[in-house]
């Protein structure tokens, strides 16, 4: 028993008692279960474990603070009607928006932010961190920090391009199939069924083994694999809109299919499609990262998070966290996008009821 442990439990129990006294049910439940959990963890893992719990709690409190201020910042900046929705957004959505914003900035301004070039060898292999290199050097002596910043541009950029292509193909074909119907609809739907019955990672491995791995093939292959998901959604959403009276009216006016899709159907099915775009981006991003991790995605010397994990993986066995940083960067962005999508889905389902 030392002061840290005594202080740790005294604080937790004290604050949860206070919460109970002031009838703050939620806070009490949370704090008291944290106390119970740390009992178990303290017995199993000792003082070190309690420190990790403290640090973790601090991190969560910090990110909650950041998300809160970022949300307030957006509320002030945005026009009144958007600000109203923003004010009601959960903290997780604020956190997601903040992370996406940070990634976008570091991706767009990568050459200005990064102290070194992405392929620039500046020291010996696996050199530890010093005042020049924030995160140390990688397996060839390149600056890890610079490569992570450039990775935001390369990995996210590629995933974004592939998602946009998949979306353009899937949504156009889906809405068109919903408008026209008949044989074409049946044919496209059967093709989509077959593509979706092959697991995506396996299918992309098959295609990449044949067409080789360069950036353009990669984008096209991924777009082909993920377009069917968009197609299905777009077709079912579009199918609900096509039966409306105003579509009938537009048809009687003599408008063409292309006009119907662009001016009548698309604006009325945009909400679920935008949420799907976020989800789709997560899937594509994870697939790109996975392929790069397997050495089949973005090729060196281009800085890319997936391949950075693989190249530095040996460091794990020495207890270094270096390979976890790019992997964590991938996880963080996907979590952030998912948080925002969750919020948008909640809003769109709430508005319907």
């Amino acid at each position: 028993m030392n002061y840290f442990i005594i202080g740790f439990y005294a604080l937790l129990i004290g604050v949860s008692s206070l919460a109970a006294f002031y009838q703050k049910r939620t806070a009490f439940l949370l704090l008291f279960s944290l106390t119970l959990v740390s009992f178990v963890m303290g017995i199993v893992g000792g003082e070190g474990m309690l420190w990790s719990v403290t640090i973790l709690a601090g991190l969560i409190a910090f990110s909650a603070g950041v998300s809160f201020s970022f949300r307030e910042f957006l509320v002030i900046l945005l026009p009144p009607d958007l600000a109203k929705t923003m004010r009601a957004a959960p903290l997780t959505a604020g956190f997601g928006l903040f992370v996406i914003f940070t990634y976008a900035i570091s991706g767009i301004f990568a050459p200005i932010i990064a102290p070194y070039g992405e392929a620039e060898v500046i020291s010996s292999a696996f050199a530890p961190a010093d005042e020049n290199m924030l995160l140390g050097a990688d397996q060839l002596g390149r600056d890890m920090f610079s490569r992570i910043i450039y990775g935001a541009r390369n990995t996210v950029g590629l995933a974004l391009l592939a998602t946009i292509l998949a979306f353009a193909m899937g949504a156009t074909a889906g809405l068109y199939a919903a408008t026209v119907g008949g044989k074409l609809d049946q044919l496209l739907s059967r093709i989509v069924d077959v593509i979706m019955s092959i697991p995506s990672l396996i299918f992309s491995l098959l295609l990449l083994s044949i067409f080789g791995t360069n950036t353009v093939t990669l984008i096209i292959v991924i777009a082909i694999i993920y377009a069917p998901r968009v197609f299905r959604l777009a077709r079912s959403v579009g199918g609900n809109v096509v039966v409306m009276d105003y579509i009938e009216a537009a048809k009687l006016r003599g408008e063409g299919n292309w006009y119907l899709i662009r001016k009548e159907i698309l604006p009325n099915s945009s909400a679920p499609l935008i949420a799907e775009f976020g989800l789709e981006f997560c899937f594509v991003f994870l697939l790109v990262a996975g392929l790069s991790f397997l050495g089949l995605g973005i090729q060196p010397p281009t800085a890319d998070w997936g391949s950075m994990v693989r190249e530095n993986a040996t460091l794990i066995s020495f207890g270094e966290i270096t390979p976890l940083i790019p992997a964590g960067a991938i996880a963080l962005l996907t979590v952030a996008v998912n948080f925002v999508v969750d919020w948008m889905l909640y809003m769109s389902s709430g508005l319907k009821e």
């Binding site: 939620t26 949370l30 990672l201 396996i202 491995l205 083994s209 397997l294 998912n338 969750d342």
Partner: protein
């Protein structure tokens, strides 16, 4: 009963057709190679004689449809041809490795399924409380993390910092079951983390859907105790969606295993596939893809059949 068998037979037939189409895609994709296999393997510098010899050896001088039916016929009997790199039969390498992959997937499933269903029901009962929100954030994080991130985090904390489990899951046939279970614990745990999160969310959603239905409200209003509402009214109707959720996640387990196998250097079929793709060893790639696709379709079929069996309404399609 005849009705059910009829519907199930129809589903199986549909699955078989899908599998046939996929086998055509897998075979046809290799035919799309610029040049042909011989050209791709031997490279630009190959002489005309070498190419001709290779083509004769692989039987490329015959028409593609004939070779497809030969390949398919052999594949059905378990013969996938010879590897281009090692010149040994592909099936030899695949059998033990596929067994290993199934072992890992089964191991993860046995831990994951009960935990996920239990937690999913619990979270559905206590929905919109703090626990539900915490569970929502945690599962979302776990789903969003790439498998290799979770894998390396587990290695760092459970194998390197605290030496509880081995970081590399090398197993062989002559090891005892306990040894195998110990060696493969970390890869199994990685998959459990991802799959539990998925299953929990899906179970929660389907239970909440059921709890909102009128007959549950009716039961509540007539004064049935809460636990009885769950056990007698909700659970019998929840089996269909839950079985569906489990089967879909098992399908994920078998195919999502590729990345986990590479992280933990596990001798499974996913690792074999990745190696073959890097070496452009097409017979192995084709064989692995066919096996993965077949497993995936089979488990999806199981999900369909399971939900038909447990949901009488689906037995009488309109």
């Amino acid at each position: 009963m005849g009705d059910i068998l009829n519907i199930i037979a129809k589903r199986l037939g549909l699955g078989l057709v899908t599998l046939l189409v996929i086998s055509i895609i897998i075979f046809g994709a290799v035919e799309l190679l610029p040049g042909d296999i011989a050209q791709a393997v031997l490279g630009q510098g190959a002489t005309e004689e070498n190419l001709a010899a290779m083509r004769a050896q692989l039987g490329l001088d015959r028409a593609a449809p004939i070779r497809y039916f030969e390949w398919l016929g052999n594949a059905v009997t378990g013969d996938f041809g010879k590897s281009l790199v090692s010149q040994t039969p592909v099936s030899e390498a695949i059998y033990t490795r596929f067994g290993n992959t199934l072992f890992l997937a089964l191991y993860a499933a046995i831990i994951a399924v009960p935990v996920a269903i239990f937690l999913g029901v619990l979270v559905a009962l206590y929905r919109n409380t703090v626990f539900d929100r915490v569970a929502n954030v945690v599962t979302l994080t776990s789903i969003s993390s790439p498998e290799f991130f979770l894998g390396y985090v587990l290695i760092l904390f459970l194998a390197v910092k605290g030496e509880y489990f081995p970081a590399i899951a090398k197993i062989s046939d002559d090891m005892s079951l306990m040894d195998k279970l110990d060696r493969t614990f970390l890869p199994a745990l990685t998959m459990v983390l991802v799959v539990v999160a998925h299953m929990m969310r899906m179970t929660r959603a389907s239970i909440i859907n059921l709890l909102a239905s009128p007959y549950v409200e009716m039961a509540r209003l007539k004064g049935v105790p809460a636990w009885k509402v769950i056990v007698k009214h909700t659970l019998p109707n929840a089996w269909a969606p839950v079985i569906n959720v489990v089967a879909l996640n098992l399908a994920y387990l078998v195919t999502g295993v590729v990345l986990v196998e590479v992280v933990f250097v596990y001798p499974g079929i996913g690792q074999l596939l990745v190696d073959a793709v890097t070496k452009r060893d097409f017979p192995v790639v084709q064989a692995c893809c066919l096996i993965f696709a077949a497993t995936f379709i089979l488990l999806n079929l199981a999900a369909d059949v399971g939900s038909i069996l447990t949901n009488p309404r689906l037995r009488h399609p309109k």
